[in-house]
């Protein structure tokens, strides 16, 4: 009785392609490494395109497809390989190409928000909205100078604070402008006034893929899982959720060679059971917690595109913890310095007073 030995290679190409189409990215890449036949199949862009679309639904949007195809990006396999792992804070990458000029319009962002593994929001952002239309080479234009020197924020959406002060205007389902930002909250979130931070922490995920159209590189700036969730009782129960990463930078850019990319998402739960998004934006901070300006932010974005990545979520979280500890340390040192300075000034004043008293009073 002869039973066939299992030889995957002996299968027809069609069958192999069908099988490989059902693999996730890492497994597909591993399988590609086994032999030349599988490598040939794994190099088919359709497989990776499907993987990208299912992992980041924003890349399937028409605008996104146009941006990706017209960019210098090598292919969907490159896009997946760049965007799937997260940024590792450990060391600065070597061989970052020298930048002559980084224009905000070089960048495009693909943002996806997920709840319980289901994508609830997908958006594409081309360029940096606040930069407006300006000539790429015109670094001296007022708008460009303003952008480079002011605190930099990349905003996906911002409903604004003065709208919807508790009457839920912005969350009315019939209001088409905000329809896209609403998602029916799961039934256990029906109690508006209880604290749902834990649920959001467990189930909410966000991905922010930044694409450099000119150089064909991408990076995921998010941490997937929230780094922090808090309820802001002062604003009618808005939830503020932090995502992000720690980007290693060169010493010339920032002290301590680390920058924190903070993605801020703000939402609230309306009476009608909808989760409404109020703000999703991204900016950089240094170890002192100071908002970084436009010029440096563009440099940090550039360095992020070339930095090392890891699939280990644990290492990424450790990096974040280390950054926060460093930040606390900086704040403590600063306070200590200020306290010492205060005491010195006080001692000096007291000394002068005593001296003054010693010489003047006896007279």
């Amino acid at each position: 009785m002869e039973l066939l030995q299992c030889h995957l290679k002996c299968l027809s190409r069609d069958l192999l392609t069908d099988i490989m189409a059902r693999l996730d990215g890492s497994t597909l890449a591993s399988a590609a490494c086994t032999c030349s036949d599988l490598l040939g199949i794994a190099r088919e862009q359709s497989l990776w395109k499907q993987l990208c679309h299912s992992t980041w639904p924003s890349t399937a949007l028409k605008e996104a497809q146009h941006l990706i195809s017209s960019s210098a990006m090598d292919g969907f396999d490159r896009l997946y390989a760049d965007s799937y792992p997260l940024i590792l804070h450990d060391k600065v990458a070597k061989n970052i190409p020298a930048l002559t000029h980084i224009s905000p319009s070089n960048f495009a962002s693909f943002i996806d928000v997920y709840y319980s593994d289901q994508c609830i929001l997908s958006r594409v952002l081309d360029g940096i909205p606040s930069s407006g239309d300006f000539c790429e080479d015109d670094e001296t234009s007022d708008l460009m100078r303003w952008l480079l020197s002011c605190p930099f924020t990349l905003v996906l959406l911002d409903v604004g604070h003065d709208e919807g002060t508790g009457d839920g205007n912005e969350l009315h389902p019939a209001n088409n402008q905000y329809d896209h930002h609403q998602i029916l909250a799961p039934h256990f979130m029906s109690f508006v006034h209880t604290d749902h931070c834990n649920e959001l922490l467990k189930r909410l995920r966000l991905s922010w893929v930044l694409l450099d159209k000119k150089r064909g590189r991408a990076v995921n700036l998010s941490s997937w899982k929230p780094l922090l969730v808090k309820k802001i009782w002062a604003t009618d129960g808005d939830y503020e959720i932090h995502f992000g990463c720690i980007v290693p930078v060169e010493e010339s850019v920032l002290p301590h060679k680390l920058a924190k990319c903070l993605i801020l998402a703000r939402c609230n739960l309306a009476e009608n059971g909808y989760l409404g998004w109020k703000e999703i934006s991204m900016h950089f901070e240094d170890t002192g917690g100071v908002h970084v300006c436009g010029g440096k932010s563009l440099t940090i974005l550039n360095q992020a595109l070339y930095c090392l990545r890891s699939n280990s979520r644990l290492m990424v979280e450790e990096g974040y913890q280390q950054f926060e500890e460093l930040k606390q340390e900086m704040i403590r040192k600063k306070k200590l310095k200020e306290t010492i300075a205060d005491w010195l000034c006080l001692s000096f004043e007291v000394a002068i007073f005593i001296t003054f008293g010693y010489y003047i009073l006896p007279i």
Binding site: L4, L8, D18, T34, N311
Partner: protein
């Protein structure tokens, strides 16, 4: 009325190692290959399946039988209901014919209409009668759909157990399903193979599991590993 599933015809399939299997036609035609043979009228005598071993063929027949049984179980309910509906329609038409006749007689006497108009009137009336039974049918379908959930789950569990076999058997099933063109089996086995690959944690493990020999030069191997370094 749908055609009877029990046509009673039995086909003979011969495996690679010359074992003969007698299979009902309704089960065997789950395979597109056998279906084509039957439709071409070449099913006299024994159908040779030269690449399928008897052990695998036995399993394949079991799969096909299970799927035919599943379809029958879920259809027989609707068949009974449909029969009831048709019966009630016929009764209703029978009851209504009396009044129809009177009406048409009135029309004839009043307007001297064409025969086609009478027929049209009868058709409209019988259609009107049918609407009631149509609603019942729709309700029946809805009821069945609600009940299908657990049946589907049961089938899925059975299928998962069926493909939970050693790699060699799985490989044989895959080749057989591909050769015989049995879509449902092929789909499920492909999914299972993909799941087995996903469980491998490294390139070496994939190679070992599936008996793949690397045909790369050391330089090529290094280059490719460099390319996929992002998975670590």
């Amino acid at each position: 009325m749908s055609s009877s599933n029990n046509s009673g015809k039995v086909l003979k399939l011969k495996s690679k190692d010359n074992q003969i299997f007698e299979v009902e036609e309704s089960v065997a035609i789950q395979s597109e290959l056998i279906k084509n043979v039957v439709e071409a009228g070449c099913d006299i005598g024994v159908i040779p399946l030269l690449t399928v071993h008897s052990k695998t063929l036995r399993n394949v027949i079991e799969w096909c039988q299970k799927h035919v049984d599943y379809v029958e179980e879920n259809d027989s309910g609707s068949n009974e209901e449909e029969i009831k509906n048709w019966e009630s329609e016929i009764c209703e038409e029978g009851n209504n014919n009396g009044s129809d006749d009177e009406e048409t007689k009135n029309w004839e006497s009043e307007e001297n209409n064409n025969g086609s108009d009478e027929e049209e009137a009868k058709n409209w009336e019988s259609e009107g009668n049918n609407d009631g039974s149509n609603k019942e049918e729709v309700e029946n379908w809805e009821w069945e759909e609600n009940n299908d959930g657990s049946d589907e789950e049961e089938l899925e569990n059975w299928e998962s157990k069926f493909v939970d076999v050693d790699k060699d058997s799985l490989y044989a099933l895959l080749l057989a399903a591909d050769y015989l063109s049995i879509d449902s089996l092929l789909e499920r086995v492909i999914k299972q193979v993909a799941d087995v690959i996903k469980q491998c944690r490294s390139v070496e493990e994939v190679r070992q599991t599936f008996g793949i020999k690397s045909d790369f030069t050391p330089e090529e191997e290094e280059e490719i590993r460099e390319e996929i370094s992002w998975i670590d």
